[in-house]
């Protein structure tokens, strides 16, 4: 391999891509999808309630309210020094609701002397005020050391970790962005990379390159271009869509292994076709094989379909990306997922070497 030659070819391809509408389209289409999801599908946010607390003595009431709210609501407390300031915050809509807590409140509650707690509501309907007012009864019972008349246990109707629960936990936007990430990798590896390689051979410009370099130099340069596109566009898509993976090593490993596998598929495709028009015809098949199963992981399909989809690299990559993004083992089976992608890579590169050796002979 000749580094100078590889670098020169890669730089030429990067510059040339700016003038090639097909490549620009293939690169920008997935990024455009990401932007559309951003605008059209805002994330479902947890309700947030701001409570103005006016207390002269320390009180555990905010802590108890937060415990009762759990993860269902984001509670924020603004502590002020007087009842007037509490009312001012609510009037100014700086707080959804206000609580005026008298001196010695916690001790009085514990002693059962029924102190007066004033709830300051804004005019009109305030969901935050209703929520806090209804939560106060349980909180005060807890502070008084009383047991609730019954224990309320809330359960989700769906069994944990199935397809629907993944979407409901992750949100449709984030799920679709992760799917788009796989589409982006597939477009670069199975469409852009084969185009720039096939075009060199179809237009015989490769003959001029081979006057000084080798086939390995040319192919390595094209793969480098694909990797550069991926290295730029994958973080760009995540940045544009405000997606930060919780388990970065797992997420990155899934992206890298999928990229290597799909680049193998792209090179194999380029070695089998003779022209860019043939490539345009045939590249849609591997693209569909990779991208369609990605979205199947979000559907509750019959088990045999799920098993079949589990053999696809796109499906396994999606499972890893979801787990890597959430930082939870929502799907699990990471070794199997990497194993399936590695098996695809092994078969693809073996076929590629066989095809190239036939071509050289």
């Amino acid at each position: 391999m000749h580094l100078r030659i590889i670098l020169a070819i890669a730089l030429k391809d990067l510059k040339d891509a700016v003038r090639d509408g097909r490549i620009l389209m293939a690169l920008f289409m997935p990024l455009g999808f990401g932007l559309i999801y951003n605008v059209a599908m805002p994330d479902v946010q947890k309700p947030s309630i701001t409570v103005a607390i006016g207390a002269t003595d320390p009180t555990v009431l905010p802590i108890v309210l937060r415990t009762i709210a759990g993860s269902a609501v984001n509670l924020k407390f603004n502590t002020v020094q007087s009842a007037a300031l509490v009312r001012a915050q609510v009037e100014a809509k700086k707080a959804d609701v206000g609580l005026v807590i008298p001196a010695g409140f916690d001790a009085a509650v514990a002693a059962g002397s029924a102190p007066t707690l004033v709830v300051v509501r804004p005019t009109g309907i305030s969901t935050g005020a209703i929520y806090i007012a209804s939560a106060l009864d349980g909180a005060l019972r807890s502070m008084a050391g009383q047991h609730a008349p019954a224990v309320i246990a809330t359960e989700t109707a769906q069994p944990a970790h199935d397809a629907v629960s993944v979407i409901s936990n992750l949100g449709s936007r984030k799920f679709l962005v992760l799917g788009t990430l796989i589409l982006l990798i597939a477009m670069i590896a199975i469409y852009v990379l084969p185009i720039i390689l096939t075009e060199e051979f179809e237009k015989k410009t490769a003959d001029a390159l081979l006057m000084i370099g080798t086939q390995l130099d040319v192919v390595t340069a094209k793969v480098s271009v694909g990797l550069i596109y991926l290295a730029v566009s994958v973080p760009l898509l995540l940045l544009m869509t405000r997606m930060a993976p919780a388990n970065v090593p797992l997420f990155a490993a899934a992206v890298v292994v999928l990229s290597v596998t799909l680049i193998g598929v792209g090179l194999l495709l380029a070695s089998l076709v003779r022209s860019v028009s043939q490539l345009n015809t045939w590249s849609s098949i591997p693209l569909l094989v990779v991208v369609l199963p990605v979205f199947f992981v979000a559907l509750n399909l019959p088990s045999w379909v799920q098993t079949a989809m589990a053999a696809m690299p796109g499906s396994q990559a999606m499972r890893l990306l979801v787990d890597g993004f959430t930082g939870q083992a929502m799907y699990g089976g990471w070794m199997l997922a990497f194993g399936v992608m590695a098996a695809w890579a092994g078969i693809t590169y073996a076929l590629l070497i066989r095809t190239l050796s036939h071509r050289v002979a």
Partner: protein, 302 residues
């Protein structure tokens, strides 16, 4: 159209002779290339001296391009040996490639890039200083069009750019595969002038062409290839003398004319008779052509 500059100086780095003094620049011995059952090249042998213009002539499919591909290390021969600059094409392609270049019959340029960008790219591949790009553009008379995209160039301009690209590494041996195919007469003439100029600078030129007149004008020696075999190899003059049929066009005093074959004793007798009778106004001798030679050897015109 800008006129091409005549190449008057050629500063190629000194390359030590790999073998004894004045070895051939190209040496081919018993070269065979098979594609399945088809023998594209069938045991050809020849040498080309340093600075020589050597032409390989033949029909389509005669094996010309396959021969060039083997000599430029792009195709492995089935058997036989091919050496360029004293280096073996199969075993030492890394030594040969920096010393040679090729003008392909396909106008294989990057059409979305400008002429200057094309040359700059190949200069970077060969590690040639960027300053050489402007010099080459000047040599092929394309300075004004250097910034235009190649897809806007005419066929002749593309061909000149291909020649400039092939000179980017200052090759010792330049292979030209049908360099004037499809060009208009003016462009073809410019390309031929460029080839002649190159040869004067000491570059060895290996040319394949369909055009007999072109081979005749340019070549020091010519080889005829038919069905993968060399059927004749010599200087154009020698080939024409040996295989051609020189003729003479005779104009009579009654304004009628006829053509006689000079090698024919019958025609010589008739000519002597006409001269004796003072019937002849003018006689124009015509040398045999390479096309005559090829028809005589291979049985049909190219």
């Amino acid at each position: 159209m800008a006129t091409m500059a005549v190449i008057t100086e050629w500063t190629r780095p000194a390359v030590p002779a790999p073998r004894e003094a004045a070895p051939p620049m190209i040496a081919v011995d018993g070269l065979i290339k098979r594609y399945g059952q088809v023998k594209a090249v069938d045991g050809i042998s020849f040498t080309v001296a340093r600075g020589e213009i050597f032409s390989l002539l033949g029909h389509n499919g005669a094996g010309k391009t396959t021969t060039i591909r083997m000599l430029t290390c792009q195709t492995r021969p089935t058997s036989g040996t091919a050496e360029v600059g004293g280096f073996n094409c199969v075993e030492q392609p890394e030594r040969i490639k920096p010393r040679i270049n090729l003008v392909s019959q396909n106008q294989n340029l990057y059409e979305r890039m400008s002429g200057r960008e094309n040359l700059a790219f190949f200069a970077s591949l060969y590690g040639t200083p960027p300053a050489r790009v402007a010099e080459l553009m000047r040599i092929v008379g394309m300075t004004e069009a250097a910034g235009r995209r190649v897809k806007t160039y005419s066929g002749g301009m593309k061909q000149r750019l291909l020649i400039a690209r092939a000179l980017v590494n200052q090759p010792e041996v330049l292979f030209l595969d049908e360099p004037t195919a499809g060009l208009d007469p003016a462009s073809a003439k410019e390309v031929r002038t460029l080839i002649k100029d190159l040869s004067r600078t000491g570059t060895t030129v290996f040319l394949t062409t369909h055009y007999m007149e072109e081979a005749d004008q340019l070549s020091d020696r010519v080889a005829f290839l038919a069905h993968g075999k060399i059927i004749a190899l010599d200087t154009p003059r020698e080939l024409k003398l040996r295989f051609g049929h020189p003729t003479a066009k005779v104009l009579f005093d009654d304004r009628s004319e006829t053509t006689i074959t000079l090698a024919s004793s019958d025609d010589a007798t008739r000519m002597a008779s006409w001269m004796r009778d003072a019937k002849v106004l003018t006689v124009h001798s015509q040398e045999g052509t390479l096309e005559d030679v090829f028809i005589a050897l291979a049985g049909r015109a190219l």
